[in-house]
Symmetry: C3
Amino acid sequence: MSPITRLQPETRLCGATIHNGLVYLAGQVTEDPSLEIEGQMADILRQVDALLAEAGTDKSHLLSVQLFLADMDDLEGMNRAWDHWLDRDNKPARATVEARLADPAWRVELTGIAAIP
Amino acid sequence: MSPITRLQPETRLCGATIHNGLVYLAGQVTEDPSLEIEGQMADILRQVDALLAEAGTDKSHLLSVQLFLADMDDLEGMNRAWDHWLDRDNKPARATVEARLADPAWRVELTGIAAIP
Amino acid sequence: MSPITRLQPETRLCGATIHNGLVYLAGQVTEDPSLEIEGQMADILRQVDALLAEAGTDKSHLLSVQLFLADMDDLEGMNRAWDHWLDRDNKPARATVEARLADPAWRVELTGIAAIP
């Protein structure tokens, strides 16, 4: 079988798992919950870049992204950070819904799947 | 590596991505938000059929579906459209939860993964 | 193409689908909604173990898990069952958000993807 590689292990989950040419991201949240929505999303996208780099890939290989916004009114602010970061020639599938998150200071959580070239 | 093919690109996402024999659907919502729940779901399933056809597959190859209902009270109406559309010999894994969606007129959003034969 | 195998078919979905060395879990909920959160989560994890065994794999091969809590205040209780069950040498990526579920007695729903060795 293909081996499973695990990145950034925490107490009860890993930041990402790698298997058979795909990387599965855990829910990514900001490391600085004092930030407003655009700052939190930019911070998350930096973490995604770092995880993808550690997995040997990058944002141009994202296949699917799911976004959970604590408040859908933050959609515009979240999208500003997304639009700034996005590789417009290589856009993933994406779904965005509202959901209360584990820490009330978190505004957005991102999960997704990327291919490894 | 397997190449990534992108279907129905929009400003900040693609309607679907294809990689290594799988198609990853973006969150699909109705094109006619004036419809009630059963009509919205039927409209979404028509879009899913079209995306899957463009990817060279069909609903009998759906592996996993996630449904986000703006109001869980719409579960029965959503399921009427689902039951009418479903290939009963080839049912996917499915999860359905409630979540506020980006447009308050949207009643349901669908995402999922399908195999390409 | 790789064939698709379907486990535990129900009226409108399968409990899991298998394709190309991966198993895709449907949303798993408790079979005993009278249980409180920790009991419901332990019950769900027993069902996950059974589904994974039927697919020829186990919890050490989980790649990605998504958890929907009906009330985020149940996070600690859910995590007690998770921590008791988790293979600490083989932790999946995980995302946990709050979402109202189809039955108001359900406290948590789990979905995910596992590799088959």
